[in-house]
């Protein structure tokens, strides 16, 4: 267990060091997210009430689109110079590698969300939130579940030529229930008197997170280690 933790820590450190030097994912992801929010703002949501109704959807669509950029790129880095094969030659790497990739993906997405949420609040003139800790919990759960599925699918598709196209095609249908729960929970938090209880949706999100984590941990080793088998 201690060895697995050390390996996880070393791999997270590697991923974050590479990103810190290039800032490639943060710059492209952050800019992409802001562009999306701006486009949504100018796409007809002129009425304040409509803006407030549309904001949760805009927020989660932006997270979903930006997320696929992040997941694809973190694995693409390991394909350069076939560094992934070098990692796979290390015994017992699959579990820590999955945990490290998931950690990196979640952290990067959360940093982008730290930019995205204020951008949505500002551009859609949102002022009231039922519970800030609640909103943070909803974002964290949505991000974790989305990143869990995104990480394992990015690993499974990493060996394929059309991986950039296939990732969103495979990921979005599977993650829709989680994203819908996120939208409903966020809506309930932004409109406490008009919608149901946000905690009901958090329960659904926790259930999806548990399911995705179990599936991903089970599938990741097969996905990443047998990618070459013809």
């Amino acid at each position: 267990m201690r060895r697995a933790l050390r390996t996880w820590w070393a791999l997270v450190g590697r991923d974050l060091r590479i990103e810190w030097r290039s800032k490639e994912i943060l710059y492209t992801g952050g800019l992409f997210a802001v562009v999306l929010v701006t486009l949504f703002l100018f796409s007809g949501f002129q009425d304040r009430a409509v803006q407030a109704q549309a904001a949760p959807g805009v927020l989660w669509v932006s997270i979903a689109l930006t997320g696929t950029l992040v997941f694809g790129r973190t694995f693409e880095r390991d394909r350069e110079a076939d560094a992934l094969s070098g990692l796979l030659m290390i015994p017992g790497i699959a579990g820590p590698l999955f945990a490290a990739k998931l950690t990196t993906n979640v952290l990067l997405l959360l940093v982008i969300e730290a930019l995205l949420v204020p951008a949505v609040f500002l551009t859609f003139s949102l002022q009231h939130v039922g519970s800030w800790p609640g909103l943070m919990a909803v974002l964290a759960l949505g991000t974790l579940g989305f990143a869990t599925l995104g990480t394992v699918l990015a690993a499974a598709l990493a060996a394929l030529r059309m991986r950039e196209v296939l990732l969103p095609l495979v990921l979005y249908p599977l993650v829709i229930p989680l994203l819908l729960s996120g939208v409903r929970a966020t809506h309930a938090l932004l409109h406490p008197h008009a919608d149901g209880d946000w905690t009901d949706w958090v329960g659904v999100m926790i259930a999806f997170n548990a399911l995705f984590l179990v599936l991903a941990r089970w599938l990741f080793e097969e996905a990443v280690d047998h990618g070459e088998t013809g």
């Binding site: 590697r14 290039s22 110079a81 560094a83 030659m89 290390i90 017992g92 280690d225 088998t229 013809g230």
Partner: protein
């Protein structure tokens, strides 16, 4: 062998070979409907340096990656020490295998020192050994530059260090000489000789026939996925290849400039 190499490879001595042989039995590997490797059988022992030759597309890299447990054979089996199967025991086996691939297997964004330090951390090798390997591979001055700025030869030298850092019992090399200058090639063969002296099995996929006499023990020749010759290397590798062809293992392997020719071939089911 230089003093630095002697010191460094001496680090292998307290570590007895965990693996001393590998047996391939009727190994076939397919990609889609095509056989990349077809019913290859042979046994290799520790202390041997084996050249794996063949035209482009002959199946050399695929076979090497199967021996490294990165590709599972579709038919037949690969067993180390008659017990450890590459499919079933791949996690345990990988602790004792070193792989130098055609690609560097390094992280281009990290420096040479960071790449080796990461491998050392993941392999439970003391970090202090990183400096010795950088010295051996003549990369001390470039150690803190990103690997992306290295020449092909520098990356290849760093790959050798990364592959040997954990003192593997079996070293699998896929065209390790590509891009290396003569001095680095000589260094590579010296390291291989040091590994052989310490009972390690070294398998080298190569197109280059200008190998120092005495550096290799055996030559395996693949053609269209089949093993067509398995001979001891007597004299030069070029002479041994000529001998193999004279015995009827030939078939389109025209050579020029010290390299085997590039022809693609597939065995179709």
């Amino acid at each position: 062998m230089s003093e630095a190499q002697g010191d460094l490879l001496a680090g292998f001595d307290p570590h007895p070979c965990a693996l001393s042989s590998v047996a391939l039995r009727e190994v076939s590997i397919t990609f889609g409907r095509r056989y990349a490797v077809y019913r290859v059988s042979c046994s290799l022992r520790g202390g041997e340096v084996v050249a794996l030759l063949g035209d482009n597309g002959a199946g050399k890299t695929t076979l090497l990656r199967a021996m490294a447990s990165l590709i599972a054979p579709h038919e037949g089996e690969i067993r180390y020490d008659d017990a450890w199967d590459v499919r079933r025991d791949r996690a345990a086996l990988r602790a004792h295998l070193g792989l130098i691939a055609h690609e560097s297997l390094l992280h281009p964004e990290l420096s040479g020192r960071e790449n080796l330090a990461l491998s050392a951390a993941l392999r439970d090798v003391p970090t202090r050994e990183v400096a010795s390997w950088l010295e051996l591979t003549r990369l001390v001055e470039a150690a803190d530059r990103p690997v992306a700025t290295y020449s092909r030869g520098m990356r290849q030298r760093l790959s050798v260090a990364r592959a040997l850092l954990h003192r593997p019992s079996v070293v699998l090399c896929d065209e390790p000489l590509t891009g290396l200058d003569r001095r680095s090639q000589a260094l590579f063969w010296e390291v291989v000789a040091g590994l052989k002296a310490r009972g390690r099995l070294v398998v080298v996929v190569t197109h280059q026939l200008d190998v120092p006499v005495g550096a290799l023990d055996r030559m395996l020749l693949l053609r269209q996925g089949r093993l067509v010759a398995d001979l001891p290397v007597e004299g030069s590798l070029r002479d041994t290849l000529d001998r193999a062809e004279a015995r009827g293992a030939g078939g389109g392997d025209s050579r020029s400039g010290g390299e085997t020719s590039a022809s693609t071939a597939e065995v179709v089911r």
